[in-house]
Amino acid sequence: MGWLSRSLSTSIGKKVVMAVTGLLLVLFLFVHLAGNYTIWGGESTFTAYVHGLESFGWFTHVLEILLALLFLVHIYYGLKLAVENSEKRPEQYKVYKSNELIDFSARYTWQTGVLILLFLVIHLATFWYEYKFGPQGRELYDIVVTWFQNPLYSLFYILLMITLGIHIHHGFQSAFQTLGWTHPKYTPWVKKTGTALAWIFGLGFSLIPIYFYFTSMGGN
């Protein structure tokens, strides 16, 4: 093994991979949320945005592949770490309370991650796959609105966005700690930013299904 692969397979190396990919995924979520919010402009604005993305041609595909790689690396390393760490205490405690001293979001990082992975698969299958490979000529706006009128789907979507918020609440400040970017002046800001991001994404993504669910019930 070369020095780089050797370094990335140490305990800190793997965490660095998680931190860097995690922070990049947070950036992606900003772009995603901003894109989603074109839906407030109505069907034509949203559709124009979707077509606008596609108009980049091959460049869009390169971005899609990079994004997929980002997700896959974060998922692969996350699962790998979860499995490896689960083997580090073969004989469990009869009473274990150290976990009760820590933040809720920190206790279940890989578990929330697995839930988000489940969401990702369903999310891609219901929106992306249906748009790209479903019946020709159906606009994404139509697919999205139809799904969000389903209360079970909307509830699932909202619960998973809350899960995403919990994941980011721990993950954001954790990434800074792993990269060694801590400082008595800035670390409190980093933690507050993480909490803010958790609310922005948790609530921000949820607003769309909430809106479409209620408008489908006869409001506007």
């Binding site: 305990s11 800190i12 190396g13 205490r89 009869k94 060694g180």
Partner: protein, 255 residues
């Protein structure tokens, strides 16, 4: 003397490293002035008087500075009172009629040898890999001949407060030794005397930590909450920072 309290103890017993462990129940009456180790001493006196096998546990200084003792009491390494080593944990912190579970530090890297005794030599192996500074022998240098800012000296002393008891590993859900290694890396990284070996040291110690079978850090900070000396997780961040710097800029291909 305060009135005695009655407790039910569930103590982890294990006859040999290979034997299966189990919990044994004891009903005892103890003075609230006793530490948990003194309570075990009393219990052992009774057991020996009855020709039964006494409970094996480790202790040395019994004043909270050597890092030898370490029992998980009711799910907390060194017990439920913050910044207190097992030997300094007094029975007045428990109520009459309470049930206590006494378990050894559990981790893949710590072999449970007997009852509450575990082999923590993997921590020593990490120190041997780089937890030292090399100095030329000769006359002792003048005190204070190397200027060190007060703030830096305090941070180094805070890191050096680590007694190496290994409770961080016992507390961590991943049985990670990052707080211990972070403290041991930091106490040298902060001071001029630690600079020549600074970046070799952090890589060697982290590699050995991984080889010894400790988990990786998930930044839950349970270690900091349970540490009897209150070692800060900023030491882990400093180690991560030094490790990354070493990886990126070191010319050596060794690690």
């Amino acid at each position: 003397m305060a009135e005695k309290i009655n407790l039910t103890l569930n103590i982890w017993r294990k006859e040999s490293p290979e034997a299966e462990g189990y919990f044994e129940e004891f009903k005892i009456s103890v003075t609230p002035d006793a530490s948990i180790l003194e309570m075990l001493d009393e219990l052992n006196n009774d057991l020996e008087a009855q020709n039964k096998r006494p409970i094996a546990f480790e202790s040395d200084c019994r004043e909270g500075i050597c890092g030898t003792c370490g029992i998980v009491v009711n799910g907390h390494p060194h017990g439920p009172i913050p910044k207190t080593a097992t030997c300094q944990l007094h029975m007045r912190n428990f109520k009459d009629g309470e049930t206590l579970y006494l378990e050894p530090f559990r981790a893949k890297a710590y072999k449970n040898i007997k009852d509450l005794v575990v082999d923590r030599s993997p921590l020593d192996k990490i120190i041997q890999a780089g937890g030292f500074i090399s100095v030329n022998t000769g006359n002792p240098p003048d005190a204070n001949s190397i200027p060190i800012p007060k703030e830096t000296a305090l941070q180094a002393l805070d890191a050096a407060e680590c007694i190496g008891c290994g409770a961080c590993v016992a507390a961590c859900k991943n049985a990670s030794a990052m707080l211990f290694v972070g403290a041991k890396v930091s106490q040298f990284a902060l001071l001029p005397q630690g600079q020549p070996e600074r970046y070799e040291r952090v890589q060697a110690m982290v590699n050995t930590m991984d080889e010894m079978g400790f988990g990786s850090c998930t930044n839950t900070y349970a270690c900091e909450a349970e540490c009897p000396k209150g070692i800060s997780i900023t030491n882990i961040a400093r180690m991560n920072r030094d490790y990354l710097k070493a990886k990126i800029s070191s010319h050596s291909m060794q690690y």
